[in-house]
Symmetry: C2
Subunit: 188 residues, 2 copies
């Protein structure tokens, strides 16, 4: 493909450098595609431990053709399995209710209050804790369980670059057997 | 089993009547079990149409032993498939927000206002419409897609009677590809 020829040329024949060049261009091109409608894709599931944990996941792309590629199917399977293992609460920081972020900031500042550090420093520390909160709880910011060198967002952007379509992780549900068991009445 | 011997005796040897006797006793015994803790069970999924519709479902019972029986596994699979087809919004009427029921009543009464019928009759008609609303939208009140002679609740009660443990359909999620697509931003 022209992209690969160009990459090798840019890298003066060095294969590793060419791969890096393509990877960076993939991530850059993802930004150009953002905004294109994503009505196709796949709904997939992952069940772990013979029914102890289950995940339902929707990932969108632009065309049914791309949705049926092995690469897309494998990505969706990987993300579903990742969600089972890493148990995010939301897809992205934008989905976290403002009240929860405010609470986390409050806790962070309260913890640091006794340290006597100046307000500007406390603010920085609180920001760091919010960043960590997103990394722990937002799917896109979590590091991929199969490759801790990448976040799920990076994985997604690479796929967008590789397959050439806009994509989005739309939503997911994760059920752990027996969790949050308020004693719901059985059949009445 | 003693139950079957007794049933045949009660039915004077008539097999069909014996089955009916057991079925009714199963439903009655379900009520006796309600209230027992249900922390075991299964989380299962069902994907339809190569990824166009997906369902995640948790059904609880009392012991892991029962959760692993073919009967329980088949029930859970059936309910998941039913949810994909029948698209309920809630498990039970108790889960429907009061505001939604109030709205449905309001609509029902408004529709009938012009008819000039007395208030007591309008109330009855509105109740009928709410009942229909539950039958359309609450999983337990829906008729089973594989057997319209039974509701999901009856199916559940029969299983409780057959397996001898308290059970509950705890929760479910249903994703239809591309539905409610607010244009979520893709990877940023």
């Amino acid at each position: 493909m022209l992209d690969c020829k160009k990459a090798l040329a840019e890298a003066s024949g060095d294969f590793e450098k060419a791969v890096e060049y393509l990877r960076k261009r993939g991530i850059a091109s993802a930004a150009k595609k953002a905004g294109r409608a994503t009505k196709e894709g796949l709904v997939t599931s992952y069940i772990h431990g013979e029914g102890r944990v289950g995940v339902l996941l929707e990932v969108n792309c632009e065309t049914d053709f791309v949705a049926r590629t092995e690469q897309f199917k494998n990505f969706v399977k990987d993300v579903a399995m990742h969600i089972a293992a890493a148990s995010p609460q939301w897809v992205s920081p934008e989905e976290v209710p403002a009240a929860i972020i405010a609470k986390e900031k409050e806790i962070a500042v309260a913890q640091m209050q006794a340290s006597g550090k100046p307000a500007a420093v406390l603010e920085k520390i609180a920001e760091g804790k919010i960043k960590k909160f997103y990394e722990d709880n937002c799917l896109l910011h979590q590091t991929f369980v199969k490759d801790p060198n990448k976040t799920i967002e990076q994985l997604l952007k690479e796929l967008i670059g590789a397959l050439g379509e806009n994509m989005a992780i739309r939503r997911f549900a994760r059920f752990m057997l027996g969790e949050g068991a308020k004693d719901t009445a059985a059949a009445e």
